[in-house]
Assembly symmetry: C2
Homo-oligomer: 504 residues x 2
């Protein structure tokens, strides 16, 4: 009987014997009725303690695979083919989970969206992410090493929930440059804007509460507030940003728990609120005592025009929670972001962060701190911005050239995407299906709406591919759209003609 | 008028002018009634566009700090000292947050516990953490670099929620060695056991639900279930682990949502359940259809005795959710752990992980994978285990030598701590106060209880200090305890004597 034991394995010897014997029985090497070696004999043969064999035999007996008769020996039982045992176990006694899940129905469409692994030969205009090929790998690796050499021992040990303190200090200084006066302990380091939103939602939103969001908006935010079982009060976005008149009505009629807004290069519309609109928004929120979550993640990706102060800098009332991260200017995979919250909230946010996952990766925090401290982040951002600005221009020209006259789009001063409005007769998701066959994918506008989804809008990202690919992709999209449009016109023409005939 | 502009700053020029003028007014350099330069003049002087000055003046006007009179000029207003403006703003119009927080009362005592920065000259026996001085920094740094050189571009880009796939594969193989047969996609990478617990709680526990926990148990788990507003069904821990008789009663009388257990080197009691007890636990849970969360974080820190299969390996019913991490054998600061959950839960956990913080740091995951793949983690664990085993023995000998006969303690086969039971007349928190003055801290047992806290127990960690410090610390503690005990005996003696006199 061939049993091989691996003494280096963390699996106990008796368990290795059990596994191998089970396998031998499954494969028919040992058959029903076969007699197994006596305890003492097998122990000697394998060079193990008799207790090990006893334990193995007890296990197999408990599983009903073998049986012992005193004075007679140990025999293989007549049992169903053991190859099926794992499946059989699950099939016979499965735990049923439906009744115990708090929410079995909610499947995040956000998840499909986030998978950025596109197929070969597909040009993806889907993701508002920085382009990996532009990452300054060597610069970052050196920063990583510098950080590790300085304090590797501290970075690998458990840290504080607030974050890696030098990074908090650095960010507090950065915030001051934006007119936001805070002390380092008011800067909570999170795993990114997604987590910032999740934490804020957990301390402010109860099931059934209402939250105000721009419509359309960032799907990750929709996902968080859905998960919180809140109700959406959706406010349209116009040239100036969130529609302040609609917002005023809503705030007068309802008692929402918060307002989520992306005032600078809104995702997906690309609008940037001017200073007057920002002040109005704050005054409105202050009058109705509603907190604002300001998502400022795209701030640094400005290509034209002048910076505008963040809401937080204009917040005389202590009602703005400011969130941002390194994911658009830098490195999304690191998962490092931050939150600047009014002091009464900090204790609660810290406690929640701690019981959620203790703290953000010390290594990631220290690496990005070292990288930023040396000016390498600014250097990288400047370079990336030049390239993204060029690509934006290429896309805009291509749209002019290849898209039908009936399509409209914005000309954003920054950000990563263009927001295109097609005639209402067209459906962006259907266009996507056709486009995917032709090797181009993008984000249909539908997925950015929490309510009253509009199906004739598209979001095209210009950051992740080069100019030639952008041109090619827009050319293909333009052709598909023109085809679909002309089909519709023809179809409509036919309907009109039939209608006329019916009237006659 | 001295205004210095920094053209490299991300803060817009007009905002820099506003900030500096405000400061000058605050400091009295500009006084109420002073006339400010005309737009054209200041623009020329500072070398900026006139629009910039206009924007700055508009801002200051909006803030009520200056006023313009056509034909007359621009003047500083008579306003309260601006140095107080930020405080004033908060004082006059503060947003009141009490009514909007979902839970303003809960402050996590867990937070105080986690701060491991002890004072100088204090010997800390408080934390069940690996000792930083033992971290193999150079080995790890090389692994980190190897991982980064191989795929830095991928690691810095957004990843998948399930985790870094090579790490999932590696862990699936490790799980197989423990008798847990899973495919890599059934291994969800989290930010550590804390996050694993938080995620599980969010998908299984609604406010008001009941959860079964060992009492005493890991404070981080108490914190998670408190945060979920659940009710605790506490089960005592005996020599065999969770008290199965009490558990059986509870499962018959109530409908808890889950059982949280640490079967191997339970925190804080140090017990390890034998195979028979584990089987019984599973059968009990299966009979009542209650999921089990198995926290196996201390598994590898076994110094004596034989490994016992995890509950998950014995789970024929698909009801065990297995969690573990690299935080005890390796590096807590990295925040990398994993969860092996039954297939019906994986989709929900993945979706929740994604909307919580998208994924764990790719860099941390890849680094620990590379480190483990090369056998360096095993090498480190073997070395650390030898050292911890010696320290455990030193602590046990010191307890024999210095603690009073009335104290009892376990002799754990593994883990990081010793659990000491003092006579009920003593209070561990009071002992801690005295001990801290003498430069020794530890964890009073009280904080490990979700209900019916016992105040006469202490948990001493032996991993974070060397043998000499352990001996010294135990010696000091022993003296303090003996003193307190003898005071109590004297006091009791006095009371008894008085009692007798009263009776006569």
């Amino acid at each position: 009987m061939l049993i091989e034991l691996n003494r280096e394995s963390p699996l106990p010897l008796y368990a290795q014997i059990v596994t191998q014997m089970r396998e031998m029985i499954r494969r028919g090497v040992l058959k029903a009725g076969d007699r197994l070696p006596a305890n003492r004999e097998l122990a000697k043969k394998l060079g193990v303690n008799r207790n090990t064999i006893t334990a193995a035999y007890e296990e197999l007996t408990a599983e009903g695979i073998i049986r012992s008769h005193v004075g007679q020996g140990t025999f293989v039982n007549d049992v169903p083919i053991l190859g099926a045992i794992r499946e059989e176990r699950v099939a016979t006694f499965p735990m049923s989970w439906n009744a115990v899940l708090t929410d079995q129905s909610r499947e995040s469409s956000f998840s499909n969206f986030m998978n950025i692994q596109s197929q070969k030969d597909t040009i993806s205009l889907s993701h508002g992410l920085p382009q990996s090929e532009l990452f300054p790998l060597e610069d970052f690796r050196l920063s990583l090493n510098r950080a590790f050499r300085k304090e590797g021992q501290t970075l690998l040990q458990l840290g504080l929930s607030g974050g890696y303190q030098p990074l908090q200090k650095h960010l507090a200084a950065q915030m001051a440059l934006l007119g936001i006066q805070v002390t380092p302990d008011e800067v909570l380091i999170t795993n990114g804007c997604q987590q910032s939103l999740d934490l804020i939602s957990r301390i402010l939103v109860r099931p059934g509460d209402e939250v105000v969001i721009e419509n359309p908006t960032f799907p990750g935010a929709i996902s968080v507030f859905c998960g919180a079982n809140s109700k959406f009060l959706s406010v349209p976005v116009n040239q100036r940003g969130i529609d302040l008149d609609v917002l005023e009505d809503i705030l007068t009629q309802r008692r929402p728990k918060l307002i989520y807004t992306v005032p600078t290069f809104q995702n997906p519309t690309g609008t940037a609120m001017d200073i007057g609109a920002r002040r109005q928004l704050i005054e409105l929120a202050a009058r109705h005592r509603v907190p604002i979550i300001e998502d400022d993640i795209y701030r640094e990706l400005r290509y034209d025009g002048a910076d505008v102060l963040p809401l937080k800098a204009l917040d005389k009332y202590g009602l703005v929670i400011y969130i941002s991260s390194f994911s658009k200017v830098g490195f999304p995979g690191l998962r490092v972001g931050w939150m600047v919250a009014p002091r009464p909230l900090i204790e609660h946010l810290n406690a929640l962060k701690q019981r959620s996952d203790v703290h953000a990766s010390m290594l990631s925090q220290a690496a990005i701190y070292e990288f930023a401290r040396q000016g390498l982040l600014n250097k990288h951002v400047r370079r990336a911005k030049k390239i993204y600005a060029e690509r934006r221009d290429v896309m805009l020209e291509a749209l002019e050239k290849y898209f039908p006259a009936e399509a409209e789009w914005n000309k954003p001063e920054g950000g990563m995407t263009i927001w295109i409005r097609l005639p209402e007769s067209l459906n962006a998701s259907q266009i996507l299906l056709e486009a995917a066959k032709q090797g181009v994918i993008f984000s249909p506008g539908e997925r950015f709406y929490a309510s009253q989804p509009q199906c004739h809008l598209m979001r095209l990202s210009f950051t992740m591919t080069d100019a030639a690919q952008i041109e090619l992709a827009v050319k293909r999209l333009g052709a598909i759209i023109k085809t679909q449009l002309s089909r519709w016109k023809t179809h409509r023409g036919i309907l009109i003609a039939e209608g006329r005939r019916a009237l006659m």
